[in-house]
């Protein structure tokens, strides 16, 4: 399957399996059975004859000056082939998604605990690990900057990136103001909300295999979210032209934003090029916690003013996002948080500001729902608080203020597509409730808070219900030229017309392979559609992030298929000698209403191949005014979801069992309804995890729980059955009317769960995750 002669033995999966089903149906995933059987090859399974193993030496300090590195003993260790430091970086020792500020290997300073300092290649992973211990690095330890608010405002703190050109340790400051600023309201509620650092917790750790190529370049097989972004940054650091750095996607074991930034990419290529041998790198779980960015923790101050009737008058908000040592996606987090920070509500007067900062904490970047997750916890808590202050039903309050098509957001953008938030809330309220707990019945402890650990047999359990409605932007924003590329070919193979779709768009588990096949089947009227392995031999697809691939890559596949179809029609017309007006392809045949079946597609194709490559660019967006935050169209599309959570809380122990977590979401057009349900269930689980248990605990710049023993993610006993109600209000600007699906449920689930816990306990929980110590008042 692989185009490269020296391909590793176990890389791409057989994704050519083609399952019936066009747009709107639910064909199952070609990789599904392999994954369930354990046969699927992930990037950590890569293997090449005679390969070496790479390992990374990381800083033990959050902030320190490097005064010397001695690699002699490590280099002399038997089995070691290379020990590399920043001096060996062939090109520019800097990379970064938005701001090029991160060294491939640290030079004179380390800015976070876990920063890469040196690399080793050895004949065995254990040998490489031993050799790391023999590298002597002298550090002069410095006082770390760990308070994000001080980092934003305190001029006395050291500047971690003195060349940044921004004041203090700012990465981005963005205010948005609209309406009157001196406004007052009859009813005012305020609160400060904090959010811990969440990890993507993808199960497949960072891994890849680099093979030096004869042309002086390198082939890299890896798991990533964006091949071309990786290639651009890697080539620059390697000092190679991009075409000498060829990347092929290997099996991705989850991503959720954590694979947008580079991890092993440059390191493993450097080792391969230095040793002239294939080199593999795989992080273990602990290293993975240091080796990728996390979700930005946040501190958010909100004030809502409303009339006594419940009409929102104003929202004021100040939000701080800790970006950690390097910028990564911090600018985007600030942009999303400020532009989405009022929630899916119409607010006439707004004064919002967001700060994203550098500190010596672990770097934070993209994670599912980036920048939208954080304020949702705050504005939805505020809406409930306001409902209580008004003595109004919380759903009614939300409906009263909900945006709709035609609404103008605080950026000045008018929603020129459906925005059925009121309808989503109404449907959520009407979903059937789970049965009440019967106190007389002998309970199955697994259904109670504490579950299998036998902490309650029904004592002290209170039930609560909570709602959350949220807004998320889809695709890249603020003026980015957002596009994807697809190459589609059609040819006759064994008497059957077979289409091949080739893109660089990463399948990270979301179901994009299936979507691409469905689109090609629908557009080309053929049954067999193969997916070419993702690589850099086709144009850019952009990242599998921002809920954008079905929209953007789906749009590119559709456009390429249409071009192929046009060519096919031209050929058919030439052969027929006339052009029937209403030509179509159905089940491998060219048909027209007026003339019936005209030809078999295979006959028109003959021995030839029709191949077309098309880019799809969504309509342009525009930047925010730096002072007022106004923009004609900052986001190409918004997506909306509503969650209703029902929880049982053990009020004495503070343990929680989420009983139901039901979702209503507008998806524009359900290209693959089953896959959408999967996205919503998975996304909701991740959001619920953030509400009740997931937090990377950082103190003094150090991660205290870098393992799955102590960074907990929900098990199936924590995850309730979920009713999912999908509605389709097509976006006229999007291919097929689709609306991004993957992120909204992650955003709405957590605030709904917290609202339900508050309803059950009456406690004003302000931190996510809410642990047992918060619920029982024993946090200190």
């Amino acid at each position: 399957m692989n185009a490269h002669g020296n391909a590793p033995s176990r890389t791409p999966q057989d994704l050519s399996e083609s399952i019936t089903g066009g747009v709107g149906e639910s064909p199952s995933r070609p990789d599904g059975n392999l994954k369930v059987r354990g046969d699927y090859a992930y990037s950590s399974d890569l293997w090449a004859e005679d390969m070496l193993w790479g390992a990374t030496l990381r800083s033990p300090h959050p902030y320190a000056r490097i005064t010397g590195i001695d690699i002699a003993r490590a280099l002399a260790y038997p089995g070691v082939y290379a020990v590399l430091t920043h001096e060996d970086v062939p090109g520019d020792n800097r990379y970064g998604l938005k701001i090029t500020d991160q060294p491939v290997l640290a030079e004179d300073v380390v800015r976070f605990r876990g920063e890469a300092v040196a690399l080793v290649a050895a004949d065995h992973p254990e040998t490489a690990r031993r050799a790391l211990e023999l590298i002597a690095v002298d550090y002069e330890v410095l006082e770390p900057v760990t308070d994000p608010k001080r980092a934003a405002h305190d001029e006395t703190l050291p500047k971690l990136h003195p060349d940044s050109g921004r004041e203090n340790n700012l990465v981005r400051y963005q205010p948005i103001v609209r309406g009157r600023q001196d406004v007052t309201a009859e009813v005012v509620v305020s609160g400060t909300y904090t959010l811990g650092m969440q990890d993507q917790a993808f199960l497949g750790p960072e891994s890849g295999l680099a093979i030096p190529a004869e042309d002086g370049g390198v082939e890299l097989f890896l798991a990533t979210q964006d091949l071309h972004s990786d290639r651009k940054q890697t080539a620059r650091a390697l000092g190679l032209p991009p075409d000498k750095v060829r990347m092929t996607m290997s099996g991705v074991g989850g991503a959720f934003g954590g694979r947008e930034d580079l991890s092993i990419q440059v390191h493993v290529c450097m080792l391969a090029m230095h040793t002239g041998k294939p080199v593999k790198m795989v992080y273990n779980r602990e290293e993975s916690f240091y080796g990728h960015v996390h979700r930005h923790p946040a501190e958010m101050h909100f004030e809502h003013g409303a009339t006594r009737d419940g009409d929102l008058v104003y929202v004021k908000a100040r939000m701080y996002f800790d970006g950690g040592a390097y910028a990564s996606k911090t600018p985007v987090v600030v942009g999303n948080a400020t532009t989405l920070g009022t929630g899916p509500y119409e607010v006439p007067n707004v004064d919002i500001a967001g700060w994203g900062v550098y500190t010596n904490n672990p770097p934070c970047g993209a994670m599912r729902g980036l920048g939208a997750v954080q304020p949702a916890f705050a504005y939805e808590a505020q809406m409930d608080k306001l409902a209580r202050a008004l003595d109004m039903d919380p759903v009614e309050l939300r409906q009263r203020n909900a945006v709709a098509q035609g609404s103008v957001l605080h950026t000045g953008q008018q929603l020129d597509y459906p925005a059925p938030v009121g309808e989503l809330l109404e449907r959520a309220r009407k979903l059937p409730m789970p049965p009440e707990r019967d106190p007389a019945a002998e309970p199955d402890i697994r259904d109670l808070p504490g579950g299998a650990a036998n902490t309650t047999h029904g004592e002290d359990i209170a039930r609560g219900v909570g709602y959350a409605a949220i807004i998320k932007n889809v695709s890249y924003a603020e003026g980015a030229d957002d596009y994807s590329t697809a190459r589609v070919s059609l040819q006759a193979v064994g008497g059957e017309a077979v289409a091949m779709v080739h893109t660089a768009a990463a399948e990270v588990g979301q179901g994009l392979v299936t979507v691409q096949q469905q689109i090609a089947r629908t557009e080309l009227g053929v049954e067999r559609v193969n997916i070419h392995p993702n690589d850099t031999s086709v144009g850019e697809a952009g990242s599998s992030s921002a809920s954008r691939q079905t929209y953007v890559t789906g749009g590119a596949v559709k456009a390429a298929c249409e071009a192929v179809r046009e060519t096919l029609f031209d050929r058919a017309a030439a052969a027929l000698g006339h052009t029937p007006p209403d030509l179509a392809v159905v089940d491998g045949k060219l048909v027209s209403e007026s003339h019936g079946v005209l030809a078999d597609v295979v006959d028109v194709l003959g021995d030839g191949v029709i191949e077309c490559t098309r880019e799809y660019h969504h309509r342009p967006t525009y930047p925010l005014d730096p002072e007022t935050g106004q923009s004609e169209l900052v986001h190409v599309q918004h997506a909306f979801s509503v969650h209703r959570a029902v929880v049982d809380v053990d009020t004495q122990l503070g343990l929680v069992k989420v009983v139901a977590l039901d979702c209503v979401q507008d998806v524009g057009k359900a290209v693959n309804p089953d896959a959408i349900v999967g996205q919503i269930q998975g996304g909701a689980t991740q959001g619920m995890g953030l509400a009740v248990m997931e937090e990377i605990q950082v103190s003094d710049g150090l991660i205290r729980n870098p393992s799955f023993t102590d960074y907990l993610i929900p098990t199936i006993l924590d995850t309730p059955p979920m009713k999912v109600d999908i509605i389709e209000r097509g976006d006229p600007h999007a291919p097929y009317g689709v609306r991004g699906v993957g992120e909204p449920p992650t955003i709405s689930a957590g605030p709904a769960v917290l609202a339900a816990i508050r309803a059950a306990t009456g406690i004003d929980l302000t931190h996510a995750p809410a642990g047992p110590e918060h619920i029982t008042g024993t946090a200190h």
Binding site: R446, G450, A453, L655, N705, L712, P714, T715, D718, P772
Partner: protein, 293 residues
């Protein structure tokens, strides 16, 4: 690193005497994690899974001998009636996969304050059987835990079994974790009623440097039950007794703040667990309903 498989106990003890630094391996669910993370680098592994003396349980008189290598899954399915507290504790350990491999011997050797078997062993006055080429000895489990992840076994000794009296009354085990399955305890508590000798046993985990008994709570409750004549004539436990029992358990602990929880939460939660579990055991005892764990 060598991998040696012992065919018999003598074989295993001889190897351990010659190479005290070799790591015995039973289920491997602690050891392999340590090796994977490079926290330990033993010179070799001594596989105990084929040593019959370790992998079986037996009963003589009122005492059950559980081989150190009997996995949790078998304790749950085979010993629920004889040793309900230990079986309940076993049921809260990890996931089915880990319970198929993990053993009480491994739990004891690791001697973590959070080991789930420990509170149940403490509540039942278990004895730990240790063997070496020098001979076999038994010690009360209370003496076995000597510090955080430290135990009283000598370098040449293996843990061969635990001995527990067959249950004569209800027993309970409950553990708090921050998710509903597959979690290391934030704190755990076990209580056992021993009506045969009018005694109460307790054990708690993750709330002191070692697993411990709450001796004052035990004495208080057995004293109350005896003085009120309730062993022979069981009536509902007065709320004041339950409250006091909970307070004494909470007072017995010496927890710390760590990534899994705060000291103040642990103390509070142990009190709650103590009150609930003592009610469950007493209700079961007084109703006379012998439920299997």
């Amino acid at each position: 690193m060598d991998f040696l498989r012992a065919a018999s106990l003598d074989d295993a003890l001889a190897t351990k005497a010659q190479r005290p630094d070799i790591a015995p391996i039973a289920g491997g669910t602690d050891l392999m994690v340590g090796i994977n993370f490079d926290h330990i680098r033993p010179s070799g592994l001594l596989d105990l899974t084929s040593v019959p003396e370790l992998t079986e349980w037996s009963e003589s008189g009122d005492v059950v001998r559980v081989g150190a290598g009997v996995p949790y899954a078998r304790i749950i399915s085979e010993l629920g009636e004889r040793l309900p507290g230990l079986a309940m504790a076993a049921r809260t350990v990890a996931s089915p996969q880990i319970r198929n491999r993990g053993t009480v011997g491994g739990n004891l050797a690791t001697a973590s304050p959070s080991g789930d078997a420990h509170p149940a062993l403490l509540a039942c006055d278990a004895e730990v059987e240790l063997a070496s080429t020098r001979g076999t000895r038994r010690m009360p489990v209370t003496e076995f835990f000597t510090g955080v992840k430290r135990n009283a076994a000598e370098p040449d000794e293996l843990i061969t079994a635990v001995h527990l009296p067959r249950a004569t009354g209800p027993q309970q085990f409950a553990k708090v974790g921050t998710r509903n399955a597959m979690v290391i305890s934030v704190c755990a508590f076990s209580v056992a009623l021993h009506p045969d000798r009018a005694a109460v046993g307790t054990g708690f985990g993750s709330a002191a440097p070692t697993p411990r008994r709450a001796v004052e709570a035990e004495q208080f409750l057995s004293g109350e039950l005896t003085s009120r004549g309730m062993w022979a004539d069981p009536r509902p436990l007065p709320d004041t007794v339950v409250e006091r029992f909970g307070e004494l358990v909470a007072a017995a602990c010496a927890p710390i703040d760590d990534v899994r929880g705060t000291a103040s939460y642990r103390r509070h939660a142990l009190g709650v667990l103590a009150r609930r579990t003592v009610r469950w055991t007493w209700d079961e005892y007084s109703i006379g309903r012998q439920t299997c764990a």
